[in-house]
Amino acid sequence: MYSPSWSSSGRMVRGLLPILAAVLLAAAAGCAGRACYRAPDEPVGNDAVHVPGVVAFEQAEGRCGPAALASMLTWSGLDIRPADLEEMTWDPGAGGSLQASLVGAARRHGRIAYEIHGMERLEEELSAGFPALVLLNQGLSWWPAYHYAVVAAIDPECGYVVLASGNPYLERISLSLFRRMWDRAGNWALLVIDPAAGRLPAAAAADRWVKAVYGLERAQQHEAARDGYAEALKRWPEHPGALMGKANALYALGEVEAAADILESAASLHPASAPILNNLAHVRLAMGNLSEALEAADRAVAIGGAHADAYRHTRKKIREALIE
Protein backbone atom coordinates (compact mmCIF):
# COMPACT_ATOMS: atom_id res chain seq x y z
CA MET A 1 0.00 0.00 0.00
CA TYR A 2 2.93 2.35 0.54
CA SER A 3 4.63 3.95 -2.39
CA PRO A 4 7.63 6.22 -2.28
CA SER A 5 7.02 9.91 -2.11
CA TRP A 6 7.66 11.10 -5.60
CA SER A 7 6.22 14.58 -5.43
CA SER A 8 9.21 16.48 -6.79
CA SER A 9 10.05 14.17 -9.66
CA GLY A 10 6.38 13.86 -10.39
CA ARG A 11 6.02 17.58 -10.76
CA MET A 12 8.94 17.68 -13.14
CA VAL A 13 7.54 14.93 -15.32
CA ARG A 14 4.19 16.62 -15.33
CA GLY A 15 5.80 19.72 -16.80
CA LEU A 16 7.55 17.75 -19.49
CA LEU A 17 4.75 15.51 -20.59
CA PRO A 18 1.39 17.17 -20.27
CA ILE A 19 -0.23 14.31 -22.15
CA LEU A 20 0.50 12.00 -19.26
CA ALA A 21 -0.70 14.56 -16.77
CA ALA A 22 -3.85 12.74 -15.81
CA VAL A 23 -2.00 9.64 -14.69
CA LEU A 24 1.15 11.20 -13.31
CA LEU A 25 -0.58 14.02 -11.57
CA ALA A 26 -2.59 11.49 -9.68
CA ALA A 27 0.51 9.58 -8.71
CA ALA A 28 2.55 12.65 -7.90
CA ALA A 29 0.05 14.79 -6.07
CA GLY A 30 -1.54 11.74 -4.58
CA CYS A 31 1.62 10.02 -3.43
CA ALA A 32 -0.51 6.94 -3.04
CA GLY A 33 -2.97 8.94 -1.04
CA ARG A 34 -0.51 10.97 0.96
CA ALA A 35 -2.22 14.05 -0.35
CA CYS A 36 -5.65 13.89 -1.85
CA TYR A 37 -5.52 14.67 -5.49
CA ARG A 38 -8.07 17.12 -6.78
CA ALA A 39 -9.29 16.76 -10.30
CA PRO A 40 -9.02 20.05 -12.21
CA ASP A 41 -12.61 20.08 -13.29
CA GLU A 42 -15.00 22.81 -14.14
CA PRO A 43 -17.13 24.37 -11.44
CA VAL A 44 -20.74 23.41 -11.78
CA GLY A 45 -22.98 25.98 -13.38
CA ASN A 46 -26.57 26.70 -12.61
CA ASP A 47 -27.71 24.10 -15.10
CA ALA A 48 -26.61 21.15 -12.98
CA VAL A 49 -29.28 19.53 -10.87
CA HIS A 50 -27.94 18.08 -7.67
CA VAL A 51 -29.02 17.03 -4.22
CA PRO A 52 -29.83 20.26 -2.41
CA GLY A 53 -27.81 21.14 0.67
CA VAL A 54 -24.53 19.60 -0.41
CA VAL A 55 -21.77 22.10 0.35
CA ALA A 56 -18.25 21.74 -1.02
CA PHE A 57 -15.39 22.55 1.34
CA GLU A 58 -11.86 23.35 0.34
CA GLN A 59 -9.62 20.65 1.66
CA ALA A 60 -6.37 21.28 3.47
CA GLU A 61 -3.34 19.33 2.22
CA GLY A 62 -4.24 15.66 2.21
CA ARG A 63 -7.42 16.28 4.18
CA CYS A 64 -9.94 15.00 1.67
CA GLY A 65 -11.49 12.73 4.32
CA PRO A 66 -12.45 15.51 6.75
CA ALA A 67 -13.56 17.73 3.86
CA ALA A 68 -15.83 15.07 2.36
CA LEU A 69 -17.27 14.04 5.70
CA ALA A 70 -17.92 17.69 6.58
CA SER A 71 -19.97 17.98 3.37
CA MET A 72 -21.99 14.92 4.36
CA LEU A 73 -22.55 16.02 7.95
CA THR A 74 -23.48 19.54 6.80
CA TRP A 75 -26.02 18.08 4.41
CA SER A 76 -27.39 16.01 7.31
CA GLY A 77 -28.07 19.18 9.27
CA LEU A 78 -24.95 19.76 11.38
CA ASP A 79 -22.99 22.99 11.44
CA ILE A 80 -19.49 21.65 10.96
CA ARG A 81 -16.23 22.37 9.15
CA PRO A 82 -13.51 20.01 7.93
CA ALA A 83 -11.12 21.21 10.63
CA ASP A 84 -13.59 20.04 13.30
CA LEU A 85 -13.21 16.48 12.01
CA GLU A 86 -9.47 16.27 11.65
CA GLU A 87 -8.75 14.89 15.08
CA MET A 88 -11.24 12.06 14.63
CA THR A 89 -10.37 11.11 11.09
CA TRP A 90 -6.85 12.18 10.31
CA ASP A 91 -4.06 9.64 10.67
CA PRO A 92 -0.71 11.39 10.68
CA GLY A 93 1.08 8.10 10.06
CA ALA A 94 -1.02 7.31 7.03
CA GLY A 95 -1.21 10.88 5.83
CA GLY A 96 -4.90 10.42 5.26
CA SER A 97 -8.15 9.08 6.60
CA LEU A 98 -9.30 5.48 6.80
CA GLN A 99 -12.78 4.52 5.72
CA ALA A 100 -13.37 3.05 9.16
CA SER A 101 -12.49 6.29 10.90
CA LEU A 102 -14.91 8.21 8.66
CA VAL A 103 -17.63 5.74 9.62
CA GLY A 104 -16.67 6.12 13.27
CA ALA A 105 -16.64 9.92 13.11
CA ALA A 106 -20.10 10.00 11.49
CA ARG A 107 -21.43 7.84 14.32
CA ARG A 108 -19.78 9.95 16.96
CA HIS A 109 -21.76 12.84 15.52
CA GLY A 110 -24.99 10.94 15.98
CA ARG A 111 -25.39 10.10 12.32
CA ILE A 112 -26.06 6.71 10.82
CA ALA A 113 -23.24 5.53 8.60
CA TYR A 114 -24.77 3.28 5.96
CA GLU A 115 -22.39 1.66 3.51
CA ILE A 116 -23.47 0.81 -0.02
CA HIS A 117 -21.71 -0.77 -2.96
CA GLY A 118 -22.15 -0.53 -6.71
CA MET A 119 -23.39 1.92 -9.31
CA GLU A 120 -26.99 0.79 -9.29
CA ARG A 121 -27.35 1.44 -5.57
CA LEU A 122 -25.48 4.72 -5.80
CA GLU A 123 -27.76 6.05 -8.53
CA GLU A 124 -30.79 4.83 -6.65
CA GLU A 125 -29.84 6.64 -3.44
CA LEU A 126 -28.96 9.85 -5.26
CA SER A 127 -32.31 9.79 -7.02
CA ALA A 128 -33.90 9.41 -3.61
CA GLY A 129 -32.08 12.52 -2.44
CA PHE A 130 -29.13 11.08 -0.53
CA PRO A 131 -25.64 12.34 -1.36
CA ALA A 132 -22.89 9.76 -0.96
CA LEU A 133 -19.32 9.91 0.22
CA VAL A 134 -17.17 7.84 -2.14
CA LEU A 135 -13.64 6.54 -2.19
CA LEU A 136 -11.94 7.10 -5.53
CA ASN A 137 -8.64 5.85 -6.83
CA GLN A 138 -7.27 8.56 -9.06
CA GLY A 139 -4.11 6.61 -9.72
CA LEU A 140 -3.73 3.11 -11.02
CA SER A 141 -4.67 -0.16 -9.48
CA TRP A 142 -1.02 -0.95 -8.80
CA TRP A 143 -0.17 2.61 -7.85
CA PRO A 144 -3.18 3.94 -6.05
CA ALA A 145 -3.87 7.58 -5.30
CA TYR A 146 -6.90 7.54 -3.10
CA HIS A 147 -9.27 10.41 -2.68
CA TYR A 148 -12.56 10.97 -0.91
CA ALA A 149 -15.29 13.00 -2.55
CA VAL A 150 -19.02 13.51 -2.18
CA VAL A 151 -21.31 12.69 -5.06
CA ALA A 152 -24.07 15.28 -5.27
CA ALA A 153 -25.60 14.14 -8.55
CA ILE A 154 -25.31 11.57 -11.28
CA ASP A 155 -26.69 12.34 -14.71
CA PRO A 156 -26.46 9.18 -16.80
CA GLU A 157 -28.06 10.82 -19.82
CA CYS A 158 -25.60 13.69 -20.05
CA GLY A 159 -22.83 11.46 -18.72
CA TYR A 160 -21.53 13.47 -15.81
CA VAL A 161 -21.24 13.36 -12.04
CA VAL A 162 -21.37 16.35 -9.70
CA LEU A 163 -18.81 16.15 -6.92
CA ALA A 164 -17.71 18.01 -3.85
CA SER A 165 -14.09 17.03 -4.25
CA GLY A 166 -11.84 19.28 -2.23
CA ASN A 167 -12.45 22.54 -4.04
CA PRO A 168 -14.68 25.17 -2.47
CA TYR A 169 -17.25 24.66 -5.21
CA LEU A 170 -19.11 21.72 -6.68
CA GLU A 171 -17.49 20.41 -9.81
CA ARG A 172 -18.35 18.10 -12.64
CA ILE A 173 -16.49 15.13 -14.05
CA SER A 174 -17.45 12.68 -16.74
CA LEU A 175 -19.42 9.67 -15.62
CA SER A 176 -17.03 7.27 -17.35
CA LEU A 177 -14.02 8.72 -15.52
CA PHE A 178 -15.91 8.57 -12.25
CA ARG A 179 -16.84 4.94 -12.87
CA ARG A 180 -13.22 4.02 -13.51
CA MET A 181 -11.91 5.80 -10.44
CA TRP A 182 -14.66 4.43 -8.23
CA ASP A 183 -14.24 0.93 -9.57
CA ARG A 184 -10.52 0.96 -8.90
CA ALA A 185 -11.21 1.82 -5.26
CA GLY A 186 -13.77 -0.92 -4.71
CA ASN A 187 -17.12 0.77 -5.43
CA TRP A 188 -17.48 1.82 -1.84
CA ALA A 189 -19.88 4.57 -0.83
CA LEU A 190 -21.17 5.83 2.46
CA LEU A 191 -24.51 7.43 3.25
CA VAL A 192 -24.60 9.66 6.32
CA ILE A 193 -28.11 9.97 7.66
CA ASP A 194 -29.73 11.87 10.49
CA PRO A 195 -31.84 9.19 12.21
CA ALA A 196 -34.34 11.85 13.26
CA ALA A 197 -34.92 12.93 9.65
CA GLY A 198 -37.57 10.26 9.29
CA ARG A 199 -36.46 8.49 6.19
CA LEU A 200 -34.55 5.39 5.24
CA PRO A 201 -32.24 4.87 2.28
CA ALA A 202 -34.10 4.02 -0.91
CA ALA A 203 -33.02 0.39 -0.84
CA ALA A 204 -32.60 -0.04 2.91
CA ALA A 205 -32.52 -3.65 4.06
CA ALA A 206 -33.74 -4.38 7.57
CA ASP A 207 -30.65 -6.12 8.91
CA ARG A 208 -28.22 -3.72 7.31
CA TRP A 209 -30.07 -0.70 8.62
CA VAL A 210 -30.38 -2.11 12.13
CA LYS A 211 -26.69 -2.98 12.15
CA ALA A 212 -25.85 0.54 11.04
CA VAL A 213 -27.96 1.88 13.91
CA TYR A 214 -26.22 -0.52 16.27
CA GLY A 215 -23.04 1.38 15.42
CA LEU A 216 -24.65 4.37 17.16
CA GLU A 217 -25.46 2.25 20.19
CA ARG A 218 -21.82 1.19 20.42
CA ALA A 219 -20.76 4.82 20.07
CA GLN A 220 -23.02 5.65 23.06
CA GLN A 221 -25.21 7.86 20.87
CA HIS A 222 -28.37 6.69 22.58
CA GLU A 223 -30.78 9.36 21.37
CA ALA A 224 -29.69 8.91 17.78
CA ALA A 225 -29.81 5.12 18.20
CA ARG A 226 -33.35 5.36 19.61
CA ASP A 227 -34.45 7.36 16.56
CA GLY A 228 -32.72 4.99 14.15
CA TYR A 229 -34.30 1.91 15.69
CA ALA A 230 -37.67 3.67 15.76
CA GLU A 231 -37.31 4.40 12.07
CA ALA A 232 -36.61 0.71 11.46
CA LEU A 233 -39.71 -0.28 13.43
CA LYS A 234 -41.91 1.91 11.22
CA ARG A 235 -41.08 -0.33 8.28
CA TRP A 236 -40.21 -3.59 10.04
CA PRO A 237 -42.31 -3.48 13.23
CA GLU A 238 -41.30 -6.95 14.40
CA HIS A 239 -37.55 -6.85 13.78
CA PRO A 240 -35.94 -8.32 16.93
CA GLY A 241 -32.82 -6.16 16.67
CA ALA A 242 -34.80 -2.96 16.20
CA LEU A 243 -37.08 -3.81 19.14
CA MET A 244 -34.26 -4.72 21.47
CA GLY A 245 -32.20 -1.78 20.26
CA LYS A 246 -34.93 0.76 20.86
CA ALA A 247 -35.49 -0.68 24.33
CA ASN A 248 -31.76 -0.53 25.07
CA ALA A 249 -31.58 3.07 23.92
CA LEU A 250 -34.59 4.05 26.03
CA TYR A 251 -33.15 2.24 29.03
CA ALA A 252 -29.83 4.02 28.58
CA LEU A 253 -31.76 7.30 28.46
CA GLY A 254 -33.47 6.46 31.75
CA GLU A 255 -36.86 5.64 30.27
CA VAL A 256 -37.15 2.27 31.98
CA GLU A 257 -40.92 1.85 31.64
CA ALA A 258 -40.91 2.62 27.93
CA ALA A 259 -38.06 0.15 27.53
CA ALA A 260 -40.04 -2.47 29.46
CA ASP A 261 -43.11 -1.99 27.24
CA ILE A 262 -41.08 -2.65 24.11
CA LEU A 263 -39.30 -5.64 25.60
CA GLU A 264 -42.63 -7.14 26.71
CA SER A 265 -43.92 -7.11 23.16
CA ALA A 266 -40.52 -8.15 21.78
CA ALA A 267 -40.50 -11.17 24.09
CA SER A 268 -43.97 -12.22 22.98
CA LEU A 269 -43.02 -11.79 19.31
CA HIS A 270 -39.70 -13.58 19.75
CA PRO A 271 -40.16 -15.98 22.67
CA ALA A 272 -37.03 -17.95 21.75
CA SER A 273 -34.69 -14.96 21.88
CA ALA A 274 -32.72 -15.33 25.09
CA PRO A 275 -31.02 -11.91 24.87
CA ILE A 276 -34.44 -10.23 24.68
CA LEU A 277 -35.65 -12.25 27.68
CA ASN A 278 -32.50 -11.38 29.56
CA ASN A 279 -33.04 -7.68 29.02
CA LEU A 280 -36.72 -8.01 29.86
CA ALA A 281 -35.70 -9.65 33.14
CA HIS A 282 -33.31 -6.83 33.77
CA VAL A 283 -35.85 -4.03 33.25
CA ARG A 284 -38.46 -5.90 35.31
CA LEU A 285 -35.86 -6.12 38.06
CA ALA A 286 -35.15 -2.41 37.70
CA MET A 287 -38.89 -1.74 38.10
CA GLY A 288 -39.13 -3.98 41.15
CA ASN A 289 -41.22 -6.72 39.52
CA LEU A 290 -39.05 -9.42 40.99
CA SER A 291 -41.12 -12.54 40.42
CA GLU A 292 -41.83 -11.60 36.80
CA ALA A 293 -38.14 -10.77 36.37
CA LEU A 294 -37.18 -14.20 37.68
CA GLU A 295 -39.61 -15.86 35.30
CA ALA A 296 -38.03 -14.13 32.28
CA ALA A 297 -34.51 -14.88 33.52
CA ASP A 298 -35.39 -18.55 34.03
CA ARG A 299 -36.58 -18.74 30.43
CA ALA A 300 -33.38 -17.10 29.17
CA VAL A 301 -31.22 -19.51 31.18
CA ALA A 302 -33.24 -22.45 29.89
CA ILE A 303 -32.65 -21.35 26.30
CA GLY A 304 -28.97 -20.73 26.93
CA GLY A 305 -26.57 -20.09 24.06
CA ALA A 306 -23.65 -17.80 23.48
CA HIS A 307 -24.49 -15.49 26.37
CA ALA A 308 -25.56 -18.10 28.90
CA ASP A 309 -23.22 -16.64 31.53
CA ALA A 310 -24.97 -13.31 31.27
CA TYR A 311 -28.39 -14.93 31.73
CA ARG A 312 -27.24 -16.77 34.84
CA HIS A 313 -25.74 -13.58 36.15
CA THR A 314 -29.04 -11.77 35.64
CA ARG A 315 -30.90 -14.56 37.43
CA LYS A 316 -28.40 -14.45 40.29
CA LYS A 317 -28.95 -10.74 40.74
CA ILE A 318 -32.72 -11.22 40.75
CA ARG A 319 -32.48 -14.01 43.35
CA GLU A 320 -30.30 -11.77 45.50
CA ALA A 321 -32.92 -9.05 45.26
CA LEU A 322 -35.64 -11.55 46.22
CA ILE A 323 -33.76 -12.57 49.37
CA GLU A 324 -33.22 -8.98 50.52
Binding site: M1, Y2, A32, G33, R34, C36, G62, G65, D91, G93, A94, G95, G96, S97, L98, Q99, A100, S101, V103, G104, E115, L135, Y146, A185, D207, V210, K211, Y214, E217, R218, A219, Y229, P240, G241, M244, G245, N248, Y251, S273, P275, I276, N278, N279, A281, H282, V283, L285, A306, H307, D309, A310, H313, T314, K317
Partner: protein, 134 residues
Protein backbone atom coordinates in the same frame (compact mmCIF):
# COMPACT_ATOMS: atom_id res chain seq x y z
CA UNK B 1 5.74 -11.71 11.85
CA UNK B 2 4.05 -14.13 9.54
CA UNK B 3 6.62 -16.81 10.31
CA UNK B 4 5.79 -16.31 13.99
CA UNK B 5 2.30 -17.68 13.69
CA UNK B 6 2.93 -19.75 10.65
CA UNK B 7 4.33 -22.58 12.74
CA UNK B 8 1.63 -25.16 12.33
CA UNK B 9 2.03 -27.38 15.46
CA UNK B 10 2.25 -24.31 17.66
CA UNK B 11 -0.83 -22.80 16.05
CA UNK B 12 -2.79 -25.96 16.52
CA UNK B 13 -1.69 -26.27 20.13
CA UNK B 14 -2.60 -22.67 20.79
CA UNK B 15 -5.93 -23.14 19.09
CA UNK B 16 -6.69 -25.99 21.44
CA UNK B 17 -5.57 -23.99 24.46
CA UNK B 18 -7.66 -21.08 23.30
CA UNK B 19 -10.77 -23.07 22.66
CA UNK B 20 -10.53 -24.52 26.16
CA UNK B 21 -9.82 -21.27 27.97
CA UNK B 22 -12.41 -19.24 26.12
CA UNK B 23 -15.10 -21.17 27.89
CA UNK B 24 -13.94 -19.79 31.20
CA UNK B 25 -12.79 -16.42 29.94
CA UNK B 26 -15.86 -14.17 29.63
CA UNK B 27 -16.41 -11.98 32.62
CA UNK B 28 -19.95 -10.76 33.02
CA UNK B 29 -20.22 -7.15 34.00
CA UNK B 30 -23.67 -5.96 33.00
CA UNK B 31 -26.94 -7.77 32.76
CA UNK B 32 -28.38 -5.61 30.02
CA UNK B 33 -27.07 -7.11 26.81
CA UNK B 34 -26.25 -4.95 23.77
CA UNK B 35 -28.42 -5.22 20.68
CA UNK B 36 -25.57 -6.91 18.86
CA UNK B 37 -26.43 -10.09 20.73
CA UNK B 38 -29.49 -10.55 18.54
CA UNK B 39 -27.65 -9.43 15.42
CA UNK B 40 -24.92 -11.34 13.67
CA UNK B 41 -22.48 -11.74 16.50
CA UNK B 42 -19.21 -13.07 15.11
CA UNK B 43 -17.74 -9.65 14.46
CA UNK B 44 -18.64 -8.41 17.91
CA UNK B 45 -17.02 -11.39 19.54
CA UNK B 46 -13.85 -10.77 17.62
CA UNK B 47 -14.02 -7.13 18.57
CA UNK B 48 -14.31 -7.90 22.25
CA UNK B 49 -11.43 -10.33 22.04
CA UNK B 50 -9.22 -7.59 20.67
CA UNK B 51 -10.44 -5.29 23.42
CA UNK B 52 -9.47 -7.99 25.90
CA UNK B 53 -5.99 -7.98 24.46
CA UNK B 54 -5.85 -4.23 24.97
CA UNK B 55 -6.51 -4.80 28.67
CA UNK B 56 -2.91 -5.88 29.09
CA UNK B 57 -0.66 -3.14 30.40
CA UNK B 58 2.28 -4.08 28.21
CA UNK B 59 0.18 -3.83 25.07
CA UNK B 60 -1.11 -0.44 26.12
CA UNK B 61 2.31 0.96 26.89
CA UNK B 62 3.75 -0.38 23.64
CA UNK B 63 1.01 1.38 21.72
CA UNK B 64 1.45 4.58 23.70
CA UNK B 65 5.13 4.54 22.86
CA UNK B 66 4.06 4.51 19.24
CA UNK B 67 1.85 7.52 19.80
CA UNK B 68 -1.47 5.72 20.11
CA UNK B 69 -3.22 6.21 23.47
CA UNK B 70 -5.43 3.40 24.72
CA UNK B 71 -8.65 5.32 24.12
CA UNK B 72 -7.69 5.89 20.51
CA UNK B 73 -6.68 2.24 20.07
CA UNK B 74 -10.09 1.17 21.38
CA UNK B 75 -11.91 3.57 19.12
CA UNK B 76 -9.99 2.22 16.20
CA UNK B 77 -10.99 -1.31 17.12
CA UNK B 78 -14.60 -0.16 17.46
CA UNK B 79 -14.48 1.38 14.04
CA UNK B 80 -13.36 -1.80 12.28
CA UNK B 81 -16.07 -2.94 9.93
CA UNK B 82 -17.78 -6.31 10.12
CA UNK B 83 -15.95 -7.59 7.08
CA UNK B 84 -12.58 -6.45 8.42
CA UNK B 85 -13.29 -8.18 11.70
CA UNK B 86 -14.30 -11.34 9.89
CA UNK B 87 -11.05 -11.19 7.94
CA UNK B 88 -9.29 -10.91 11.28
CA UNK B 89 -10.98 -13.98 12.66
CA UNK B 90 -8.69 -16.42 10.93
CA UNK B 91 -5.58 -14.59 12.08
CA UNK B 92 -6.89 -14.19 15.57
CA UNK B 93 -7.54 -17.90 15.85
CA UNK B 94 -3.90 -18.53 15.06
CA UNK B 95 -2.99 -16.41 18.08
CA UNK B 96 -2.59 -17.84 21.55
CA UNK B 97 -5.26 -15.46 22.78
CA UNK B 98 -6.56 -17.64 25.54
CA UNK B 99 -3.66 -17.22 27.87
CA UNK B 100 -3.97 -13.48 27.88
CA UNK B 101 -6.82 -11.80 29.60
CA UNK B 102 -5.68 -9.74 32.54
CA UNK B 103 -2.55 -11.79 33.15
CA UNK B 104 0.59 -12.22 31.14
CA UNK B 105 0.26 -11.74 27.43
CA UNK B 106 2.25 -14.07 25.27
CA UNK B 107 4.82 -12.66 22.91
CA UNK B 108 2.82 -13.58 19.83
CA UNK B 109 -0.36 -11.94 21.10
CA UNK B 110 1.64 -8.90 22.01
CA UNK B 111 3.18 -8.56 18.60
CA UNK B 112 -0.09 -9.34 16.88
CA UNK B 113 -2.22 -6.78 18.65
CA UNK B 114 0.39 -4.02 18.58
CA UNK B 115 0.88 -4.52 14.88
CA UNK B 116 -2.85 -4.74 14.30
CA UNK B 117 -3.52 -1.42 15.98
CA UNK B 118 -0.59 0.33 14.34
CA UNK B 119 -1.69 -1.19 11.05
CA UNK B 120 -5.11 0.34 11.45
CA UNK B 121 -3.40 3.59 12.31
CA UNK B 122 -1.45 3.30 9.08
CA UNK B 123 1.93 3.27 10.81
CA UNK B 124 2.81 -0.22 9.69
CA UNK B 125 1.65 -2.37 6.82
CA UNK B 126 1.70 -5.97 7.93
CA UNK B 127 -1.81 -7.28 7.52
CA UNK B 128 -3.13 -7.25 3.99
CA UNK B 129 -6.74 -7.31 5.18
CA UNK B 130 -6.38 -4.03 7.04
CA UNK B 131 -7.08 -1.72 4.13
CA UNK B 132 -5.45 1.63 4.57
CA UNK B 133 -7.16 4.33 2.59
CA UNK B 134 -6.16 7.91 2.68
Amino acid sequence: MRSGYGIQPLSILMLIIFSVTVVFAPAVHASMLPTGTVLESEADEIRSRIHDMLDAEEVRSALEKRGIPESEARERVDSLTESQLRALAGHLDAQPSGEGVGTVVGALVFVFVVLLITDIAGLTDVFPFVVKQR
